[in-house]
Amino acid sequence: MVLLFQNCGEFESADGFANISSTDIPDSALIGKAIYAERCASCHQPIESSRKLGRSPEQIIWGIENVPQMAGIKLTTFEIRAVSEALKIDPAICEVQDKPGHIPSNRMSHQEYNRAVNDLFQITGNWTSGFTADNSASFFDNESFSKQTNSLLTEAYFNNSKRIVDSLFANQTALNRLMVCNPNQGRACASIIVNQVGRLAFRRPLDSEDINGLLGPFERAQALGLNFNDSLKASLRAILINPNFLFKIFKQTNQKVRDLDQFELATRLSFFIWGSIPDDGLLKRAEQNQLLAPEVLDQEIKRLLASPKSKYLVNSFAWQWLGLEKIYNAAKQPDPTLFPTYTSQLREDMVSETLTFFDRLIVENKSPLDLLLGDYSYLNQRLSDHYQFNQALGSDFRKVDIPSNRSGILTHGSILRMTSNPNETSIVNRGAWTMERIICEEPPHDAPDGVDTTIPELPGLSLRERLEVHRNKPACISCHSVMDPLGFAYENFGPIGQFRTQWKDGFAVDATGQLPDGSRFNGVHELALRITENGVFQRCFSKHLLSFATTRQIGLNDGCTVNRIGKRNITSESQFSDLINAVIKSDPFLRYQNEEIQ
């Protein structure tokens, strides 16, 4: 394999795994592997051939509690999590496997479709009328496995193609751009236009078979006596419903694993950063067979990031990663009589704070660690007053320093608000959100049958003490022992994000807690420090970004890649573009794996 990319001063081959060092494997997985060998392997086979690969801590605990042969096994919570870690990231996988992961040929997401149509004709509009809801198996709407068509969607593609071309022909500027030849030339001119639009739509040059096929409707319309424009519309509609436009298609050869070709790579790049089709420049690079040259690829990544279209990373990746839509959750809003200052305007300010933070992080190329540890934020007067920061800012959002009790995005009003119940914080919601989004642990399912999930009324005890009585019930502890401490870390901030030192019950807020590995924290800033010191956040954030970039769920085989990307590219010295580069230059992004291999 040709050596392609320079990264952190060392060379990596594109097939990756050969050069992974043991430092890419989390310590806890190594510990877990040792525990497994000692305590589990006698019944469950060596870890490499274990049928328990992928088991979660929850499942292991269930086994210990319910399987008679496992009775008597005593493991601490940390040890159980370590074993689970080893079962998820088998260290052996890193050294021997070449499995970049299969991504099926899939239709665009609705968001991608809309952006692609608009970019194709340089128009703006909403073209998703009549679409059935997009399904997704990950946090991200571009998740490929679920992107199939159905009869209603196909019909809407067809109907909307008419709306799109009608609107295009009613827009003189867009029409002038389109009409690059003289309609009097008839088919010859139509052929030029179809070739030009088709190349962008299909993300590759058209061959004569493509062009002749697409001109079929033009010819039919001409034969029926329709004028040039109406005939051309028919062929443009044929482009818009063509699978080469609607689907991202991956060729399957007899190679089990191969590098993406130039055009597949151009498409994957532009859909990752722009959520849309490649532009002429990117396509040219692919046509010139240059895109895989390291300096050209670097240049193109830089160019794509610099384009205003890269706001997609903010509005789509960051939005979905954090689940910001939850702040609008229909009627899950605070009671206006209890929270008169929480207006829809303030809610917009909160959302703007988070989006601006992420936008500046990309534009100014800061360290992704700032997401959790940044000692600054972007506020306008209204939001600053709401946080009681006592500073003059004006109506525009400006960068300001924040007090030491706040920490990166975790203490943004948006996050604190959307993870709360209407009128009070929710320790469970905040804990579960942190698990899913920040440290990539599966939060538990809802309570099992018959478990009373109400928090007891116990006079004289603080909320925290009452919750502890509740969760110390055997049925609850395995889930809540991880979730609750994470949620408590945020308790210094009320349901609309204001700092507080006292609970409603009069007790002083207790925001201390302990992570499964035993490390302790008091408040959300210390939590942020702990999960960046042990690399958990770095791994998690890389995982989410890789999932978004590759349009698939990140699974067992990706553990080493995710860990390596996070460890090497999310440090206090690194820049956001390092991370983007590392994701793009990873095997899961650059290579195709046949569908038959599991």
């Binding site: 269930w62 809801a133 078979e209 319309a221 959750n329 579960a432 599966e442 399912h445």
Partner: protein, 485 residues
Amino acid sequence: MSLPKWAIHRRAFLRGLGGTISLPFLEAMMPFQKLYAQSLNLPPRMIYLWFDLGVYRTDWVPTGNGRNWTLPSNLSPLQNHKNEIIMLRRVRNYYGDSHNEGGGDHARSIGTFLTCAHARYGDGHPGPDFGLPNPTTARLQHQGPGTTEGFAAFQQQAYGNKIAGSVDQLAARLPWNNSYSLKSVQMRVGGGGDSHHNSINQHLSWTNYNTPAPRFQDLHSLFDTIYQRRPTGDVVDPRISAVDTSILDTVGPTVAKINRMVGSADKMRLDKYLSETRDLERKISSVNPMPTQKVCGLTTTSRPQSAGPRFDDHIKMTLQLFVKAFQCDITRVATHGWHYGNFSFLTDSAGRTLNLEPHNSYSHHGDNAESRDGLRRISQYWAEIFAGFLQEMKQADDNASGSLLDNSQILFGCGMQDGNGHNSDYGDTELPIILAGRASGKWSPGKLVDTGNMIRLADIHLNMLQNMGSTDQKFGDSAGTQLNL
């Protein structure tokens, strides 16, 4: 037609759906149409209305039996419709139980409701994996604590094969539906909260064991899809359909070309798209509307403007669109899920606040009086909305062959009985299920059915499926019990 309890909050419609226009000459053709419809042997409408989180059981259980029965206090809004509904005691959905899989009742209560197959939650998209593991989508870390290899064997033993689809989708595949382009319509309102078991808790309707049926979540898309199919009485310019056909014709050769270079699963996806365009082509070339269709009151002005954030407005507007779709005979199968779990601050038609906290914190009431009342109020409001729907269906004429309600079979209910502990694994459980309509004469409503024995939800589904013309003798865990409905 305007009913106080149906009042939609705010000015949600530009113009009400009530403003119907019908062309007199087509009305005059109706006896012929009716005759024609009978000769086609068209089935009743099949409607499933599902709500989440269960009810406050004590106030939801009817008393008496047969024709001599009393509505429970929580269902007082249905008093005027008592003769149009059938209540049933001791309904169970065996596969909605956890079968030692631990938590996840909420999710299961959705995915199992119309399938009566065990849904293993969280195996990732797209399937709940009804029956067998799906290695390509399995998210092992999502499997419940009790999901073991032994369990898969249990499932196979107990159930046999993979399911062919949910009951509504099986009905939609029956031959009479060939001439309908909208085979069925699925709409979901609400939900999408913090949940992470992402497949079975999002889908009531399933095309097969691992593919959810397409569904709408957005009123505009729902409206546009129904509206597209309205009979207009316009004569279509044959040149337009010829050009449209030639556009669709370009897909075939393209798919053939792509299929030569992609893997087999990808081929299936592309073939699926191709066959969908072929169906569309057939639809375009058969310009005649359904014989029973008449020009009906669907106009662009009845497009919902915006329902605002109100959960109940979305439900009511969806139901009104359903009524329109039935009146125009655009579809005969409809499923509507009300996913209320994370919502709060609902006021009923009289302006009374129903809940301050999310519904979920009421349904897990722990016998706390305040939460119990909250749950009761919400259940009562659902009954009120259901009553409003029945009223509209009753007032809608169905091509002079009775009302829409006469020619419908409606199932309204939930996959969990008790919102508090769920107790789906307990023998005394009974699901809240109400049937309504006459199923074109196959049901005789106005009664309480209590056989003293458990009634399987699957037997109810099977009955409804057979009423749609199916000859199936088995559905899910059905026991073939003849239900006197």
